[in-house]
């Protein structure tokens, strides 16, 4: 092998690249690490200055996140000793647990709305993309442009009309309303992304399946879908990230029953003073589902395994 070639970078170059990548990773991962660490700090450690790199880990933030607490008299505290580890943490601050907080509910709402709208966006998007890719649809190009054009302004620009519409039809603060809204916003992305993927799947596969005795829908299900897995997985991740993280509409359109976690987490500040560990704990737990989802689908993101059995 020659000392340097186009395909093989030199040793020095590789080192520089590695250092740059390591530096970039550090910069992007740092805030995340900070959040995760803060979740395990005590209230005092979380606001210590200079910030503490090493600290005594505590689950106080998590206990605060999941419970509501009240202050009680010394006599009451003495009469009701803590029964388990989390009551003990609360006790040590001179408080008792009054009940569960609303975080669990909000987290469940986020899960229902996030995954529900992702499922719908991908389902409808796949079918629409398949139709646009394979059939002669009248005014196809105009329709595709129209679908894309819904993405040309920031969705929040129409927040007020949507707010009024939702109130008029009774969709305000409902799971169905939020799922519908996020699906509508994500649909243009999912149709366009998936159309690109399906366009790349040669028609011959479906034609072979049609001849092998399958109906159009069976061919779609058995032959096209498995090969569109890469596209479906990446589209699902994008849709979930949007629906999961969405804040503005959630603040505007939900308050009680259907409130998701993003508008809830900041309210922790108001409820129990500036409880940074509790907020950080909420943010940490909030990060997990998208992370797990992405890791689960990672396998499908590897392209190339499904291409190449048609002679080009």
């Amino acid at each position: 092998m020659s000392k340097s070639s186009i395909s093989e970078p030199t040793r020095g170059f590789k080192w520089i690249a590695a250092i740059l990548v390591a530096f970039y990773s550090l910069v992007t991962i740092m805030p995340l690490l900070w959040i995760v660490a803060t979740g395990f700090k005590s209230s005092a450690d979380s606001i210590a200055y200079p910030p503490k790199i090493t600290f005594q880990p505590s689950l106080e933030g998590y206990v605060n996140l999941f419970t509501t607490q009240t202050r009680q008299t010394k006599e009451f505290m003495a009469a009701n000793p803590p029964k388990n580890w989390y009551e003990e943490i609360v006790h040590s601050k001179g408080m008792v647990i009054a009940g569960p907080s609303r975080f669990g509910e909000r987290f469940l709402n986020s899960t229902i709305i996030g995954f529900g709208s992702t499922f719908l966006s991908v389902l409808l998007g796949t079918m629409a993309a398949y139709a646009f890719s394979r059939f002669r649809v009248p005014l196809k190009d105009d329709l595709l442009f129209f679908i894309l054009s819904t993405r040309m302004m920031p969705p929040i620009a129409v927040a007020i009309p949507i707010f009024l519409m939702f109130r008029a039809v009774g969709l305000s603060d409902t799971h169905a309303g939020m799922i519908l809204l996020y699906t509508a916003v994500n649909l243009s992305l999912s149709v366009w992304l998936l159309k690109g993927f399906i366009d790349e799947i040669p028609r011959e596969y479906e034609e072979a399946a049609l001849i092998d005795g399958y109906t159009r829908f069976q061919a779609f299900y058995k032959v096209v879908l498995p090969q569109a897995a890469t596209g479906i997985a990446s589209t699902a991740i994008f849709c979930l990230i949007f629906a999961w993280n969405e804040y503005a509409f959630a603040v505007l359109l939900t308050s009680g029953t259907a409130q998701t976690a993003p508008p809830f987490i900041p309210t922790i500040i108001g409820v129990a003073g500036q409880d940074w560990p509790a907020m950080a704990a909420g943010a940490t737990i909030f990060l997990l589902p998208v992370m797990v989802f992405t890791i689960l689908l990672r396998r499908h993101l590897l392209r190339g395994i499904t291409f190449g059995a048609v002679r080009k």
Binding site: A208, L210, Q218, I305, A309
Partner: protein, 331 residues
Amino acid sequence: MADVVLQGIEKKFGSVLAISNLNLEIKDGAFVILLGPTGAGKTTTLRLIAGLERPDSGDIKINGHSVVKNTPAQRNVAMVFQQYSLYPHMSVQDNLAFPLRSPTLNFSEAEIKSKVNEIAEVLQIKDKLNNRATALSGGEMQRVSIGRALVRNPSIYLMDEPLSSLDAKLRADLRLELKRIHAQVGSTLLYVTHDQTEAMTMATQVGVLDKGQLVQFGTPREIYEKPSSLYVASRLGLPRINSLPADLFSGAPRGAIKMGLRPEHILQGKGKLASVIRIEHLGDQTRLHLSLEGFNIVTLTDSETKLAVGDKIKIQPNNALYFDANGNRIE
């Protein structure tokens, strides 16, 4: 097993006429081969019969019933695609079993397994059954795609150049195998190829297409010996038929403009003097490229010829074919 009839088929793609007024009758148990250059409409004909395309006009009958409104599944045809079209997300085994698992059939897994094994044996891909379809060589893919057609019992097999990317030995083996299957099962086959050996050895009838029209239909020998036109004559024969002015040699009938002279229809030793410009030794035969009055002529000679480039030999036609101004053959 069935007979297939195409009546007055016409098919346009946009403004391009792919098939025009095509009439073709494929008898039950026939092995019909379609010949023609790229764009002549061979593949379109197969796709029309399969139901992947709908004719703009005309009728297609399988076993006497019109099928133009039927889906491909209802027509019960099997097709080998030129591009293999193996399902990339499945193993070879599942690819071969896929047609048998279709909702229209009802085979038990044990039956499917035995059928798949049988076909894999015939096509010599038994050791590849557990491979992914994408982890095969081109020749292996092509065999799997043939196997996927052979594994069931359709009314007609449609094959689009199925042997084109196989090596010579495998091609010869599979040619025999297809012939054997055809003879044994008595199935009807419509087959597209460019290969003369395939056309001459396998076909019961050959159809020659030109610009979407069927220009001649007959047994391989008829097509070879009595081509209706110079176009048909040039479709079969290797080396290709020599196309020369009719008056290059004496004896042309009236109205003849062109003479078609097959390489084996040239007598050496008498006639006009031609010079040797190239010699190709093929082992079993030798091709002589000659120049006669400015025209290039290819003929055959025995493999141990002493001729060399620059030598002069006398040649004379024997059994020449003559064609009129429109390219049609004069009897």
